[in-house]
């Protein structure tokens, strides 16, 4: 073995064949909470129809980054653009709180690990889904009901239970209600924050399968955060690996798992597989 030369992988070029513009572009995002540097100079680019996975341990900044994508929080510095009609060059962090909320309701769906964050647990499941449509301005009861039904059906939620309250449902079913709410308005971007963490393995497989099916049928652009490499490997086209608020490696999912370049990613992959 030759220990003297230590060739690094070739520097990757800018996209040349891909003609579509990125849907999501985050540039140089940094955020401090007191003494903690949660994010340091993070760049992220996601193309239409892609599933981008973000892996890292707790405290790596992956969920903070996802919350920024959902405009729940703003960074100390950095830009965020989504290629939405009429908003192509707008830094979304410059919007007012109200504008951010409206844009989110209309164009971004999110599923949280904890259903309490995403759902009103004591309202009906169909009502939870309809709420999203109400915010977007839909007022006809008939349309609300039929669209809620459609979204629940697409999320493979049993429709005979659509009026049950989430508090009465299993964890897997609660995630399906969250998913239905997230996709009801056919968002440009679907964010998934540890969507199957805490579910039984068999239930997790079914929820992932639903996500895969939705992705295939609707070509929804997704950003999926998980500490579970198996989940990321099943779902993601590309992967970003985060540590201490920084992106240490990114690449095609199969490459990151089969030929990890960064010592931290190697450690992660060897530990988890």
């Amino acid at each position: 073995m030759n220990l003297i030369s230590e060739p690094a992988a070739l520097e990757r070029a800018a996209p040349r064949l891909m003609r579509a513009e990125p849907l999501l572009r985050m540039t140089d995002i940094s955020k401090r909470y007191g003494d903690v540097r949660a994010l340091r100079g993070v760049d992220a680019v996601v193309y239409p129809g892609e599933v981008m996975g973000i892996v890292g341990e707790s405290g790596s900044g992956k969920s903070t980054l996802l919350r920024m994508m959902n405009l729940e929080d703003t960074p100390d510095s950095g830009d965020y653009t989504l290629r939405l009609p009429g908003r192509e060059n707008e830094n979304l962090f410059d919007l007012t709180r109200y504008e951010r909320r409206m844009l989110c309701a209309r164009h971004i769906g999110i599923v949280y690990q904890n259903p309490h964050l995403g759902l009103l647990m004591k309202h009906s499941s169909s009502g939870n889904v309809a709420e999203r449509l109400l915010i977007a301005g839909e007022r006809s009861f008939e349309i609300l009901r039929s669209k809620a039904r459609e979204a629940l059906d697409a999320s493979e939620f049993p429709l005979d239970r659509m009026d049950a309250r989430p508090i009465e449902l299993s964890g897997g079913m609660q995630q399906r209600v969250q998913l239905a709410k997230a996709i009801a308005l056919e968002p440009a971007l679907l964010l998934l924050d540890e969507p199957t963490t805490g579910l039984d393995v068999s239930v997790q497989a079914l929820v992932l399968d639903t996500l895969k099916r939705l992705q295939r049928d609707r070509r929804i652009t997704m950003v999926l955060v998980s500490h579970d490499l198996g989940v990321i490997r099943t779902m993601a086209d590309r992967v970003m690996v985060m540590r201490h608020g920084e992106v240490v490696e990114q690449g095609l999912a199969d490459q990151v798992f089969q030929d990890p370049q960064h010592p931290y990613t190697q450690q992660l992959v060897h530990a988890k597989l």
Binding site: M1, N2, L3, S5, E6, P7, A8, A9, L10, E11, R12, A13, A14, P15, R16, L17, M18, Y47, E50, A205, L206, D209, K212, R216, T234, D237, R238, Q250, G251, L252, D254, Q255, Q258, D259, Q261, P263, Q266, Q267, H270
Partner: protein
Amino acid sequence: MTTTPLLRVQGLTKTFRMYHLDSMLHAFEGVSFELHEGEFLLLRGHNGAGKSTLLRTIWRSYLPVGGHVFYRSQHGEIDLANAADVDIALLRREEIGFVTQFLNARPRVAAQDIVAEPLLLAGHSQTEALDQARHWLDQFGVRPELWRAYPSTFSGGEQQKVNLARALILPQRLLLLDEPTASLDVGARAALVRRLADLKAQGVAIIGVFHHPGDVSDLIDREINLNTRVVADHSREDEHVAV
């Protein structure tokens, strides 16, 4: 008639750096060859010579550390060795296929749907995609009663047939084969060879690793032996390709 090669591999080098062992593993170094449309290239070499690694490096599951893989795509020429990830993803959807002996079965997805998927993603209608999927499942010898079943429960041999039907349903321009005949019965093996011959005749360029190269001996145009450290293929110069 001589044509511009579809693929020009120049000085391709792959080394794995293993941090936990503080060591380097040299897989292959300075591999060079050219491949034209409709050509079938066999990779030879003993176990560990780097045959599969070379395929995976061209496919970009592995990142090369040096050299070039110039590929003449329908969108223009690009160096696969350093192309952007999204460009590689695009080429994998449209032009370059990789066939292993392992099926990535997914829960609750029927055999015919797994096979039809590449056609659906390429914009074919549901009916046409399913028709073709059933045709190829039949060709590879998967019994009709299994077409709507979930392959996660199939035997290795049956899974491999589903895998091949899926991998070969949509003609690609470049096909990478990593021991695709490993767990196949005689009938499926014959179906595979027939399909590969068809694809080759359609102009698909193929690079393959075979445990028993005899299976495809009639298709092979050239061979590269990876046992030697530096591999350069000069045979091309005096060769003459009929297209």
